[in-house]
């Protein structure tokens, strides 16, 4: 999913449906275009003219729905947003003191102290530089950003199968891994082959490259590196290198399989950005700058497509109400749409049933003390080979009294399901036990916590749809197209599920189609 081949495939596909301009925009979106062109793509939406009236009903107050309402009402469209939950924002969910975690069968109330830095983002949390629509809307709506530390070499790698379960600093792991690898190549019996392939000067440069990359000595041997941190010494005395880790133990770890290069993945980076005060501040800003009505606690009952409009029936306080509009934009999760009465065309309905839904879980723990900062960790992520996968240290509130740590970010589906079957108290207990393998006094700092299993959250029952490229070949085009006057939106029709940028891109994609259509229809009526 993150390799360049699939990105190329994506671009060629975009080219097939949208022409070269679309390819260019998509390339910008993927961060592939020259830096100078990283301007945000504007919504391709013209203001309605000549007294033209057009109404749009938007299903779901997720970020794509809100962005559409924001753009459409500025172009003169009448919009109504219908949301099933008690809150808006969909999976853009920031948990603070007193918040309801609306989990099916396990509703929780967040017990964090009421303090601006005590929160965690249960949904999207980090924004890379090339997510241009996110930056565009944060800037336009006046939503301040700050740095999110996504990669911190001073954080820990801890795995049951390596180093006797003892945590090692990420920097030590990486320095030693590179040292061993480069020494192996430098000592390779095939060195003659290199020399046959390259000129003597090139071979020499290659040797220097290896030395530099692995911090090898003049003879091409790895004897430890200051990059790993020092065993002893100080500012005023000479430092001694650490003895390199045991290479076999390094190989036992799974850290090198993906986590070691995490910040290099296409949608990741070492420093990213986060919304100051919590991701949902962008949602609140959208809501504040939208005039259209947003109905909450109004689950959709039926979607009736007709030639000249769409009728949506929704349930408000136990009573059915109907709304008719010229167009319907829908960011309800596809797997829940199957439970809503509709007259979608059969292939479209079938494609909705093929969307595969992700199962992720996050656990936030309020800590009485920012003990990780005493370990020299300011933001960033520790990686464990345990069920909790990761521990995130907050990239805000540094040196404050307390902090909220992300005590688990589980993205292995079966583990998420197993955790979701536990009671919230049992989940916390398990997360705390596992965290203690990295931070021995972990349990003593935990004051309270909440867990958010997305596969069990009301009105969601899943998150980012991580289908295979093969699956997507089968159903994506169908779902990206309209069904009459109905358009599906959200990260569910993006190749970058789970990213707000995917949802916003889907919104702009749909707006561009709507724009063409409104113009055509205006022409037809004239």
């Amino acid at each position: 999913m993150n390799n360049p081949v699939s990105r190329r495939q994506f671009l060629s596909r975009v080219g097939a449906v949208g022409g070269s301009a679309a390819v260019y925009q998509a390339a910008i979106g993927l961060g592939l275009a020259p830096a100078a062109s990283l301007a945000a793509p504007r919504a391709r939406l013209d203001a309605l003219t000549g007294g033209q009236r057009r109404s749009v009903v938007i299903l779901g107050a997720g970020i794509s729905g809100l962005a559409c309402a924001y753009e459409l009402e500025r172009a003169g469209y009448d919009c109504t947003i219908i949301e099933a939950s008690h809150r808006i924002g969909g999976r853009v969910l920031t948990i603070r003191a007193g918040d309801l975690v609306d989990e099916m069968g396990n509703q929780q109330i967040c017990g964090f102290d009421d303090h601006p830095s005590l929160y965690f983002n249960a949904g999207p949390a980090r924004i890379p530089a090339h997510h241009r629509l996110m930056h565009h809307y944060c800037k336009t709506l006046g939503v301040p950003l700050e740095v999110f530390v996504n990669e911190n070499y001073h954080a820990w790698v801890q795995e049951p199968n390596a180093f006797g379960g003892k945590p090692v600093r990420m920097r030590e792991f990486m320095a030693d891994a590179r040292g061993f690898m480069t020494e192996l190549i430098a000592k390779s019996p095939n060195r003659a082959e290199f020399e046959a392939t390259f000129s003597a000067a090139d071979a020499e440069r290659l040797f220097e490259f290896l030395r530099s990359y692995g911090d090898l000595d003049a003879k091409g041997r790895y004897r430890g590196s200051g990059r790993a941190g020092y065993a002893s010494g100080g500012w005023l005395e000479a430092s001694t290198l650490k003895t390199p880790l045991d290479f076999k133990q390094l190989l036992n770890a799974k850290f090198w399989r993906e986590a070691m290069h995490w910040g290099e993945l296409s949608d990741q980076a070492a420093p990213m950005m986060q919304v100051v005060g919590g991701s949902d501040n962008l949602i609140k800003s959208f809501a504040a700058q939208i005039k259209s009505s947003i109905l909450t606690q109004a689950p959709v009952q039926a979607i009736n497509l007709a030639e000249d409009g769409v009728t949506v029936i929704y349930n408000q306080r136990g009573e059915n109400k109907a709304i008719r509009a010229d167009y319907c934009l829908n960011n309800i999760p596809a797997h829940l749409l199957a439970g809503i009465h509709n007259n979608f065309p059969a292939p479209y309905f079938a494609a909705l049933g093929l969307v595969d839904w992700g199962k992720l879980m996050k656990i936030g723990l309020q800590m009485s003390k920012r003990f990780w900062e005493d370990e020299g960790i300011y933001g960033g992520i520790s990686w464990t080979g345990q069920e909790i996968e990761q521990i995130w240290y907050p990239s805000h509130g540094y040196n404050g009294a307390k902090g909220v740590v992300l005590g688990a970010y589980i993205f292995e589906e079966e583990t998420t399901e197993a955790f979701a079957r536990l009671t919230p108290a049992e989940r916390l207990q398990r997360a705390i036990e596992q965290g203690a393998a990295i931070h021995p006094k972990y349990a003593s700092y935990v004051e309270n916590g909440v867990s958010v299993p997305w596969n069990r959250m009301n009105h969601m029952m899943g998150c980012g749809s991580f289908g295979t490229d093969e699956d997507r070949k089968r159903w994506f085009k169908t779902l990206q197209g309209p069904a009459g006057r109905h358009y599906l939106m959200g990260d569910q029709i993006s190749y970058h599920p789970g990213w707000q940028e995917g949802a916003l891109s889907s919104a702009h994609f749909v707006l561009a189609q709507l724009n063409e259509r409104a113009k055509t229809e205006a022409g037809g009526h004239a």
């Binding site: 099933a84 030639e307 199957a338 439970g339 809503i340 009465h341 079957r421 029952m461 189609q513």
Partner: protein
């Protein structure tokens, strides 16, 4: 993989209330097809060309049953009017008689169905929902189930219905010749139930994931009865036969 493409059929039952078909679509409707766009360009061209392609749509706000506000979450998984949604493992509740719906909610509470550690993983998802209900909640949920129109979802299980008819003979005594159920024997109706759900429950009984808890006499009896089903094929065949009962008057 899961497919919802299969055409639904118009159904009715002996009891006369009639099972509604899905959106009134027929096989012919789905065959007629829809000019399905392959790309944006094509999409824009066909925008103007799909007049008259729409399926009839029977629902108006006045003839749709709205979930009571405190039970909205039931419909998130079980769907509007509780028709079931295989994508989230939620069976069709619309065909359940109130006494059976009530007993299943109580069974979850009593630890008969999907107790902690049970291999019935979908049941484990329902268990906390049922556990959260008090007696009034169970009454309200049961009344909600009773209030929705009966509906039979389109079949999705392939099997040899003729062979299944032979296997079903064991089931007749309790569940009835037409799969209509029998309250006096505490046997639920089978006709019209989501077929994938019937398969899963039969598998649960066969494996002991259901009907293995002391005290759950009905479950224990049902588990013993599934001894007649010796293979996965047997399960599919008997369910295919139940589907055929649902589909013929």
């Amino acid at each position: 993989m899961r497919s919802l493409r299969r055409p639904p059929r118009v159904m009715s039952t002996k009891r006369g209330s009639g099972l509604r078909s899905e959106f009134g679509r027929t096989l012919d409707d789905t065959k007629r097809g829809f000019p399905f766009p392959a790309g944006l360009g094509q999409r824009l061209i066909c925008l103007l060309s799909f007049a008259a392609a729409w399926m009839p749509f029977a629902h108006a706000e006045e003839n749709l049953v709205a979930a009571p506000p405190e039970l909205n979450h039931c419909a998130v998984c079980h769907g509007v009017e509780l028709r079931g949604n295989p994508l989230v493992d939620a069976p069709n509740l619309s065909v359940l008689p109130p006494w059976y719906a009530q007993r299943q909610l109580e069974s979850y509470q009593d630890g008969w169905r999907a107790p902690a550690g049970s291999p019935d993983l979908a049941g484990r998802e329902m268990q906390p929902m049922a556990a959260a209900l008090d007696a009034d909640g169970i009454r309200a949920a049961t009344a909600y189930v009773a209030s929705v129109p009966k509906y039979a979802p389109p079949p999705s299980v392939q099997g040899d219905a003729a062979r299944g008819e032979g296997l079903y003979r064991t089931c007749i005594a309790c569940h009835g010749e037409r799969g209509q159920g029998n309250e006096s024997l505490s046997s639920p109706p089978l006709a019209g139930q989501s077929d994938w759900y019937l398969v899963r429950q039969l598998e649960n009984y066969r494996s002991g994931a259901r009907g293995g808890v002391p005290g759950d006499l009905w479950g224990i009896q049902m588990r013993a009865s599934t001894a007649v089903l010796q293979s996965d094929a047997d399960v599919r065949d008997v369910v295919a036969y139940i589907n055929s009962m649902s589909a013929t008057p």
